[in-house]
Symmetry: C2
Subunit: 261 residues, 2 copies
């Protein structure tokens, strides 16, 4: 994704991540790859502390890439920070429901869930400062969490219709600056295929029948452009890029005569 | 595609191509962008003549990227050169049937079609030295051309079943070395989406109901691995890469706060 992005005006850093192997990371105390994730969280924190940024952008990586940057922004801006979570899923599960921490991130930012994640969040974001846009059909645990904490949401249809719940949230609140998390899974996998859900040859039920994205790139851009006319953006993260074609083409090129060597 | 490919062991050159604009190139004397294409053909020829290669690989670009390299190999190897054209389409049309020269390339290599293309082919490839693999449902003009010139073909199903027509062709002929053209359109656009035919939101009939690819990457790799056990490969070209997601993501990144600048 960095290769596709315009050149950055500010400093650029890369959080060191080991290349994946064919062997899945082990589940440690109900979280897959717990020790690896904690190491990455610490590395990200070190990099951010070195720069002490007022604003930052992140090209991920899974949804967990937003944990440390948004935690940093929360420390810096306190109640003035709003979090716009553009995602099909609310990411409020805990290891009790699901062992993959990429679905725990917003919960941890709110101060809930696994202690290894919540301890990275010195100043949790108040629930009233959070809006989840593009969400639909949450799992029962997620729906209950949203109700219990009074989290605001905006459905894909509402996003397309002008995102009124988002604009009202910004108006009602004391929010002055925004951190925007964009999970690319919010996009319709029929039109943007560099997503887990667009895995070539997948079966209909291969991903546990969780909700899949219903928005398109113009919908997301319109939403973001609308909020940026109201508030300054101090955080922008993009997560869950899974470029199947590029991965498959890269493997093919390696095996072709004259090209693969 | 060069970004995805392994590093090259030999010299690397880039044929200069102007960045596309929103305005289509004009049709000149029945060929779209004729003067631009001729300039690219001349540039490619100059680069090849400078290196005088015994073998070469090309990352395209449309199917026309094979014209000058395969013409060069035909001059160099004469009747000892075989051309394996892995493609859903035979690429033997002329400006009379279709103004886009990417569908004229194999015809020109055989010495037929538009004089501006055929004059780039000093030594045409004999029809008996050509095999089209992965082809199905040719247009009436194409089917007639194939019959008239006795071109050999291998259907997608035959490729999957071991590509016997290809192996017999290699055995029957005097071919000693191979130039392989791989049009990515030979791939099933449901499984590899970086293709014209996989355009997001396309209508069923948007591409004139021409044949679409039926093979998958493993089928193509198996075919190529089989022929390379028999013959040395001296040319390998890859054409028609159209990475919709990367193009759309790149445009989106330009418009995002903090990232787009």
């Amino acid at each position: 994704m960095a290769w596709l992005a315009p050149p950055s005006a500010g400093p650029v850093e890369e959080v060191p991540v080991d290349a994946p192997t064919d062997v899945p990371l082990p589940v440690e105390d109900e979280m897959r790859g717990r020790s690896v994730l904690l190491k990455q969280i610490q590395e990200a924190r070190k990099i951010i502390e070195r720069h002490q940024p007022k604003s930052l952008a992140v090209l991920g990586g899974d949804c967990l890439v937003s944990l440390v940057p948004f935690s940093w922004l929360s420390e810096r801006y306190g109640d003035r920070l709003g979090v716009l979570w553009i995602d099909t899923h609310p990411d409020v599960q805990t290891p009790k429901q699901y062992t993959n921490a990429h679905a725990h991130v917003l919960g941890a930012l709110l101060g809930h869930g696994d202690p290894d994640l919540t301890k990275a969040v010195t100043r949790p974001v108040p629930a009233k400062n959070v809006m989840i846009a593009g969400i639909h059909d949450p799992l029962p645990f997620e729906a209950q969490f949203i109700a219990d904490h009074g989290l605001r949401t905006c459905s894909p249809q509402q996003v397309r219709d002008g995102a009124q719940p988002v604009m009202e949230w910004l108006k009602d609140s004391q929010i002055e600056v925004l951190a925007i998390h964009l999970d690319l899974d919010v996009l319709d996998p029929h039109n943007f295929r560099s997503l887990l859900f667009a895995k070539p040859g997948r079966g209909k039920h291969d991903f546990g029948d969780v909700a899949e994205g219903k928005l398109n790139i113009p919908d997301v851009l319109k939403l973001i452009q609308e909020v940026t006319t109201e508030k300054e953006v101090v955080g922008m993260t993009i997560a869950e890029h899974m470029p199947w074609d590029a991965l498959n083409l890269q493997e093919m090129l390696k095996q072709l005569p004259l090209i693969g060597g």
